[in-house]
Amino acid sequence: MTDAALIWSYLSQEPLLWLTATLIAYFLGDSFFRRMNRQSWANPVLVAVILLSLVLWLTGTGYQTYFEGAQFVHFMLGPATVALGMPLYDNLRRVRKALAPLVAALVAGSVTAVVSVLAIGKAFGLNEVMLASLAPKSTTAPVAIGIAEGLGGEPTITAVLVLLTGIFGAIIATPLLNALGIRDWRARGFSLGVAAHGIGTARAFQVNETAGAFAGIGMGLNAVLTSIIAPLALHLFQ
């Protein structure tokens, strides 16, 4: 048994173990998501986070130790954010053709997302760190994490709030938009992309190709706009 303990003490000091565990957990989450016919509640990131949290808890491993390994994956958030410019570039023609409704809906949806979450959070007495972590919750995760860091929020809390926002938005969008009588696929997709980022965009693509493309545009534009309005809005509520 000494050998096993020695091996464990080696593994628990090196990045290899937790880097591998992160990839395996995500693979399992993604397989589960596919098996559940890509339903929004079976989100692969949520499954991976739950699996990894359980493993860390069972092995008594701290988050710092885990992050030593996982930081290589975390680092990719930066270049991936830059890469989000590509779908925006691909859709520039669609953006120009529907410029007026896009800009109006972007500003309305983005301001509503940020101000309403801060207003409700403040009314219920959430502290400033939690408010700063909540403010970018409708933005795509890599950008939201960057915004939360800049605002003095807790990026790890933001990551989970962003996930939950995306999942809730993807589940509620179809019944909500039907109840409101919105039939234009561009409006349906775009508002979902602005409010519920990548998870909402994936959901929009499942329903309708045009809705999906406009959701992607909404997600990209909102990433830029929330970066600018979140600090201003947070200032109002402090």
Binding site: L23, P44, V45, V49, S53, Y63, F67, H74, L77, G78, P79, V82, A83, G85, M86, L88, Y89, L92, A98, A100, P101, L102, A104, A105, A108, V117, I120, F124, L126, M130, L134, S138, A141, P142, V143, G146, E149, T156, I157, A159, L161, L163, L164, T165, G169, I172, L176, L177, L180, I182, D184, A187, R188, S191, A195, A196, G218, V224, S227, I228
Partner: protein, 117 residues
């Protein structure tokens, strides 16, 4: 693959330096995103050169925020204390944002014309 990755990282690097240097409110990678859109619009050949690597990155975008998500274990206590407020703020705000965005989009289309083809 390496030149494309180097270009993406350079956009991020320029973004980080410019936002910090000029005190802009944007995160560096978001400025990098805008630089990418602008550069591709000016030189469409660049978009085709970057596309394979970009497609690979975006196909696995979700993986990249797993490590940050796991960080929630360090804050479970705070989540439990504020659960009701967080759940209410998050759900009401998300539903409102979807509704307001879609209604405004539809209203502007009605007002200015330009319905879906």
């Amino acid at each position: 693959m390496i030149p494309a990755l180097a270009i993406l990282l350079s956009f991020q690097l320029v973004g980080e330096v410019a936002t910090r240097g000029l005190g802009l409110p944007l995160p560096g990678p978001v400025l990098g995103l805008l630089l990418l859109v602008g550069s591709c619009a000016l030189r469409p050949a660049l978009a085709e050169m970057l596309r394979p690597v970009v497609t690979g990155l975006l196909a696995n975008l979700s993986l990249f925020f797993v490590p940050a998500g796991v960080g929630v274990i360090a804050h479970l206590g705070q989540f439990r204390d504020d659960a009701l407020a967080i759940v209410l703020a998050l759900t009401v705000s998300t539903a409102l944002a979807i509704a307001v965005g879609a209604l405004v989009f539809a209203a502007v289309v009605r007002w200015r014309g330009g319905a879906e083809e």
